[in-house]
């Protein structure tokens, strides 16, 4: 699996070579301004501000029920929200899922939402639906690339998605999103419920994707792993962003260490990874 050659660069789109090597701030792929979401009268997300630079991994950590999934769903247009989502230089006041997908944003949702009664290969193929529809018929090539990243999926390509193991399902969900060749990939708890070894594998692939130029917004409860792989991090608590900073800096912050990295907490099992 280490033969991940650099010349295979089919998945990542729009890598601005100059921007990548420059030490300054890279071009902004996603900017979220004052995003608010309410379920009925209960506000689940209030005035969230966030930025993802091109080729960066940005992570959002926070406890259960903080509003992380809510935030990703609102950015994607799955939920109604107030505020502004500026993606790839163009503002969306009312994001609509199909339009966001067409513009190059893809979400791997917390619930995975696989097509259970379809084969692994058909699931992957449908990941390229939007591209196919707009006339870009390069799915065979992209699929090879995805199989290269996840050899397990190729071994099981004829198997029904509903019969995969948890780890394989997660790989399929990520692989399916990659079939769309996203400019921005949003991952909602990719390590959820996975054994340490698989978690490490998933994070290795997240790092690999960044190397290929995919910008990533990563929501995680596994704070240690997330802060290790990310460039920049936000802490979301009860619907509000309470802290932000470069990932290394946050990892050393005593408040973060106590709440999210401290031993004896609920994350201990995962830290073993």
């Amino acid at each position: 699996m280490n033969g991940m050659s650099v010349e295979m660069n089919v998945i990542g789109q729009t890598i601005d070579e100059a921007g990548k090597s420059a030490p300054g701030t890279p071009r902004t792929v996603l900017e979220v301004r004052d995003l608010c979401v309410a379920y009925g009268k209960v506000e689940a997300l209030s005035n969230a501000n966030l930025r993802v630079g091109e080729g960066q991994i940005v992570t959002v950590i926070g406890p259960n029920g903080a509003g992380k999934t809510t935030m990703l769903s609102a950015i994607m247009g799955l939920l109604e929200s107030r505020g502004q989502v500026i993606f790839d230089g163009e503002a969306e006041y009312v994001p609509r899922v199909e339009r966001m997908v067409a513009r190059g944003m893809n979400l791997v949702p917390e619930k995975r939402e696989l097509f259970a009664e379809m084969s692994v290969e058909d699931n992957l193929l449908l990941g390229a639906f939007q591209r196919y529809r707009s006339g870009k018929r390069d799915h065979a090539e992209t699929m090879k690339e995805v199989y290269h990243l996840f050899p397990r999926l190729e071994e099981r390509k004829a198997q029904l998605a509903g019969t995969l193991s948890g780890g394989e399902r997660q790989m399929l969900a990520v692989g399916r999103a990659l079939m769309a060749k996203p400019k921005l990939l949003m991952l909602d708890e990719p390590s959820l419920g996975l054994a340490p070894l698989i978690v490490r594998e998933i994070f290795r692939i997240i790092g690999e994707l960044r190397r290929r130029g995919v910008s990533i917004l990563l929501v995680e409860q596994n704070a240690r792993a997330a802060l290790q792989v990310a460039d920049y991090a936000y802490v979301l608590e009860t619907g509000e962003i309470s802290m932000e900073g470069p990932a290394k800096q946050l990892a050393d912050d005593p408040r973060v260490i106590e709440a999210y990295l401290g031993l004896g907490g609920k994350h201990q099992d995962r830290l073993a990874a």
Binding site: V97, V101, A102, L126, A128, R176
Partner: protein, 345 residues
């Protein structure tokens, strides 16, 4: 009843069963993708058959006006949407499809010597008029309420059905009609005399079912429809919009309905309101399949067709009663052995 008659009835039953099977497939498909219980499915059968009758009589089919009207409405709705979201570029396409297409079709229908055209061309024209009404119906009626509960969608379907039957009376009059058979050929098959139209119906049904099977199994659009039926949210995240899936599904349902009408028009006298009972039998078959299983629905359709044929021999006046009564135990058995189709949310 001797074997000769039994075979004849079986032949009738299987012919009708093939049509019910097609309608059942359409109903299952529409429900799986859009959660709409598609009562007006039968109206497409009547519209298809009677539009062909009008074309064969050399008159411009009245259904053309419905197509034009719906097209103009859809163009207005879509144009408003395109302008509101600042996508002026989409206007040309919106107008071409919704208004341009019916206009070109109208020109064809007025220009061609309809009565003397070859039968396949007449059939093609009838389909070109009736089938686009499916996606237009979805666009105008179901798409705005796509998120409504199943019950609301059902009530709307009943309203659409009543409306279409009324328009059918207006378009076609109260007289029933038949079209000439596709083929007058008759074959001896053992002790049985098989007529040509029966072969046509069964062959066309099989071809259509195989074509649908390939569409759903092999093409990305077919897979996208299945994906929407399996997991609407997952499909949306792939960029498969429910509106696109809905329109595509209604296109298929209208095609299946209209083609069924064209196929049975030579065997059965079709009135403006005949579609409902035909559709209802397809619906019973679909229910036997739990509105979810295509093979069981198809088998149920053949069962309904056979029941109908044999009961019409013994007690012709009561044939509908017998069909719908005998189906109750099957439904009870199905409801105890299969899990229900759950309503979402």
């Amino acid at each position: 009843m001797d074997i000769q008659i039994a075979l004849l009835l079986a032949q009738d039953g299987i012919t009708n069963g093939a049509i019910y099977a097609l309608l059942a497939l359409a109903l299952v498909l529409v429900f799986a993708v859009t959660r709409v219980i598609f009562i007006p499915q039968g109206e497409f059968v009547a519209y298809g058959a009677l539009t062909l009758v009008m074309i064969q009589a050399g008159t411009v089919p009245a259904t053309l006006w419905l197509l034009l009207g719906a097209g103009v409405l859809a163009a207005a709705v879509d144009a408003r949407g395109a302008l509101a979201s600042g996508q002026k570029g989409r206007l040309a396409g919106v107008l071409a499809w919704n208004v341009g297409y019916p206009a070109v079709l109208a020109a064809l229908l007025y220009g061609l010597p309809l009565a003397t055209l070859a039968l396949p061309l007449q059939v093609l024209l009838a389909l070109l008029v009736v089938v686009p009404m499916g996606p237009l119906m979805y666009r105008l009626i179901y798409q705005p309420i796509a998120a409504a509960p199943v019950l609301i969608l059902l009530i709307v379907s009943v309203a659409v059905h009543v409306g279409m039957v009324g328009l059918g009376l207006l378009f076609f009059g109260a007289e029933g009609s038949r079209t000439p058979a596709f083929s007058e050929a008759r074959f001896e098959l053992g002790p049985m005399l098989v007529n040509g139209q029966t072969i046509w119906v069964i062959a066309a049904s099989i071809v259509l079912i195989v074509a649908l099977y390939l569409f759903f199994g092999r093409t990305i659009y077919g897979k996208a429809l299945r994906a929407t039926a399996m997991n609407r949210n997952g499909a949306r995240l792939m960029g498969i919009s429910p509106a696109l899936a809905g329109r595509l599904t209604f296109l298929l349902a209208a095609l299946i309905g209209a083609l069924s009408g064209v196929l049975i028009a030579p065997i059965t006298t079709i009135y403006y309101d005949t579609g409902f009972l035909i559709g209802l039998k397809g619906f019973v078959a679909a229910i036997v399949g739990g509105l979810a299983s295509y093979p069981i629905a198809a088998a149920g359709a053949v069962l309904v067709g056979l029941l109908e044929a044999f009961s019409s021999f013994w007690a012709s006046a009561y044939k509908e009663v017998i069909v719908f009564t005998l189906i109750i135990p099957v439904l009870l058995w199905r409801s105890f052995t299969s899990h229900h189709v759950e309503e979402e949310e």
